[in-house]
């Protein structure tokens, strides 16, 4: 198993770095160019959420293996204010910031597995996986 890649997210240019690292890793594992783009776009959305709502955080990328299938894991983590209503945050078009409100629900559609954990005053963790078909 490949080692983890961690990208500190402190400003918007780190969003670009995170998605580039993600694309590189997806390419190495053998994802198609379309899947690389879907993956990079999902990373961009969750990384942007860190910058917009928490200010600082990190994106951890790593290759994963489960049985015979290979995949890629992304963990986006921050110690920001947390999300009050997770169900609402996952609804299309809902946004407390100045955005389109597609970030989290959109990222879920781009990935295979998606999990959102958040606690007010503690932080938010988004865990996403994409499997190689």
């Amino acid at each position: 198993m490949a080692s983890e890649i961690s990208v500190a997210i402190n400003n918007e240019s780190d969003v670009v770095t995170a998605r580039q690292r993600g694309r590189e890793l997806a390419a190495r594992i053998g994802f198609s160019s379309t899947d690389q783009t879907l993956f990079a776009t999902a990373i961009s959305e969750v990384a942007r959420n860190i910058v917009s709502y928490a200010g600082h955080g990190e994106i951890v990328l790593c290759a994963i293996e489960e049985g015979h299938r290979l995949g890629i894991l992304v963990v986006a983590r921050d110690q920001g204010p947390g999300i009050a209503d997770l169900e609402l945050a996952m609804r299309d078009g809902y946004s407390t910031g100045n955005s389109l409100g597609v970030g989290l629900p959109g990222a879920r559609r781009l990935m295979d597995d998606f999990e959102l954990l958040s606690e007010l005053g503690v932080g938010t963790t988004v865990t996403m996986k994409k499997w190689l078909r």
């Binding site: 998605r19 776009t41 959109g106």
Partner: protein, 121 residues
């Protein structure tokens, strides 16, 4: 990294070179809004051929550029959205409603010319 803006007749062409940060995109919006007035441009082409990701922020900013240019009297055409990028945008639920798009720069120019002719400019 600033986006170079070329002037060709009364059309402005902004070719986005690589992965742009949010700040670069906002600078481009402000820069284009100013130039449309100064140069009395009637058309704006935003070439995104080199962009490998168009996420919600980038899409919203491009939309903002097009609507701003429209209010300043210029039509905008977004050209060169790559097939993978288009697919990801659809999955994300992003649209460019009311904004003209073309396959490439050449078709974008032709579209602007046709619109100008129709408006009798």
């Amino acid at each position: 990294m600033t986006v170079p803006i070329l002037k060709q007749g009364d059309t402005l062409i902004a070719s986005i070179q690589a992965a742009l940060s949010d700040r670069d995109l906002m600078d481009l919006r402000d820069d284009l809004a100013g130039r449309v007035g100064r140069l009395r441009s009637k058309g704006v082409i935003i070439d995104v051929t080199a962009l490998d990701v168009l996420d919600s922020f980038a899409t919203r900013t491009i939309r903002g550029i097009a609507y701003t240019a429209k209010l300043r009297g210029a039509d905008t055409v977004v050209v060169g959205i790559q097939p993978d990028v288009a697919f990801a945008m659809v999955q994300l639920g992003l649209t460019l409603d009311g904004i003209a798009t073309s396959l490439d720069l050449e078709e974008g120019m032709a579209l602007l010319e046709a619109r100008k002719a129709a408006r009798g400019v």
